[in-house]
Amino acid sequence: MTENVPLIVIGAGPAGLCAAAEATSAGVQTLLLDEQSAPGGQIYRAMGHTGQQGRAILGADYTRGESLMQVLESGLLDYRPGAGVWQVTPEREVYFTIAGKARTLRAERLVLATGAMERPMPFPGWTLPGVMGAGAAQVLLKSSGLVPDGGVVLAGSGPLLFLVAGQILNAGGRIAALVETTPRGNLARALPYLPAMARKPSYLTKGLALLAQIRRAKVPHYRGAHGLTACGRDRVEALGFTLGVRAHELPCQVLLLHQGVTPNLQITRALGLAHDWQPLARSWRPRLDAWGCSEIEGIAVAGDGGGILGAQASAHQGRLAGLQAAFQLGKLSQAERDAKAGPIRRALAVERAARPFLDRLFRPAEEFLNPPDETLVCRCEEVTAGQIRGYVALGCLGPNQTKAFGRPGMGPCQGRLCGSTVSEIIARARGVDMQEVGAYRIRPPIKPVTLAEMAAMDET
């Protein structure tokens, strides 16, 4: 018999920590599984290890995470770091491996708080060593105190690009250039939604402060760049791009890319949940109710894994999911749940108000959603955008069919890096919308697990 746990929360970022906090304070025994070795998710990564100097570099928003860690003191919480969850079934069985030992537990209620990943930014040469996500550089800074220094170019779009630039400068690093790819028309399309940002003025003031910091540091800032190409033989040596009609080439040893973040959907996809395409956010998101509950009984999603709203909104959504789980498990009355949920919902509405402006302002340029033919789209199986278009010309209708033609999405990352791009390319080539094209089917195990680990499981 598989052991039962009242509540399992997967992911110890802001959503998962807050779900666990609400549930445990209502008296629910909670198991919190997290893939990382320390709590906080990507946003509050290495919070416990960062000294005063680190806090000064990473800024005030980062230290906000400290209060979320209090739940770890709860006697009702069983927190297991380093847990790779490789299967979740609709019956709420959770299979995971910690330190080479696999096991399974069944949850009466399950909250998926698997967060976000950086939206892949495919263009020719983006697979060269030395080309990394801007978020990846932030991980290196938070976890290992590593500051990219000299020959560093940041390219792309979105708030995190500027935040990482600011943090590198705070840490004394040098930035050779910031190459912004935000399409020039975006600002005009976003401006009508600016008044709603007045409910969340801190986002605007922070953004403007970062731009001023980058200007003060005299970082060359190119705007409206297109036609990006990373050049180099065995590692990146330069970034080529075009401004207007003029071609530029900047030498670099580290090229940091960013064009927003997108939900991490491996578990919700593997569960077979319905997902809806968000044309503005250019992302899929699982269909959820106002508590984050999915269409499968007892399984909820909280935080950026249910659609990108940011760290503070994720915390609010985590609290709502935790309250609902406590209510469903009989630890809170409906009245108690609703009384606690009221202020949380109001705070969440403020966070939502910022999205229409931000999503329009930072909508990725078309060339990174539907990249040129020679771009490797599937990094694992090395399939180009041109090959995907070729499969469509042969009659291929959707991403799952492309696997039979050329194996995109079938390598170790299981389509995490190419999935949305393959669907976007097919949608344009066929002239249909994303909902009709669909997405890769994801099958367990969603993380590598060895046969020996499975064979040694005491519960099968």
């Binding site: 100097q53 060593p129 590593l146 000299g150 090395e382 890096l417």
Partner: protein
């Protein structure tokens, strides 16, 4: 060629130094580093050669998503270098080309 000037370390006296080997080279990492961070700190950007085209690849996402930093750690192939913390004496080798049942081909 390794290039030591890619990343600079902020001092952290609380963390001990940990020695690992990458191929035949000894690398001084810091306690709490992932293997991928230790490699990058030492100026090494290539973790593997791809099975399909033999292209060089290195850490890209640093959070366990992209699987481009796959390395062999203490004899176990296909480990995500960004998800494994360094341990004293750890032996890391790049993954080269297509996996096989026999001895892995030598890395050139």
């Amino acid at each position: 060629m390794p290039n030591a000037s890619l990343f600079r370390r902020l001092p952290d006296p609380k963390r001990r130094t940990v020695a690992i080997t990458f191929e035949d080279r000894t690398v001084q990492a810091r306690e709490g580093d992932s293997v991928a961070a230790a490699m990058l700190a030492a100026g090494m950007v290539t973790a593997r050669r791809t099975p399909v085209g033999g292209a060089h690849r290195g850490p890209y996402c640093m959070m366990g998503v992209c699987f481009d930093c796959l390395v062999e750690i203490d004899g176990t192939p296909n480990r995500q270098a960004c998800m494994v913390e360094v341990r004293e004496g750890m032996r890391v080798r790049p993954m080269t080309g297509a996996p096989g049942l026999g001895k892995a081909p030598a890395h050139d």
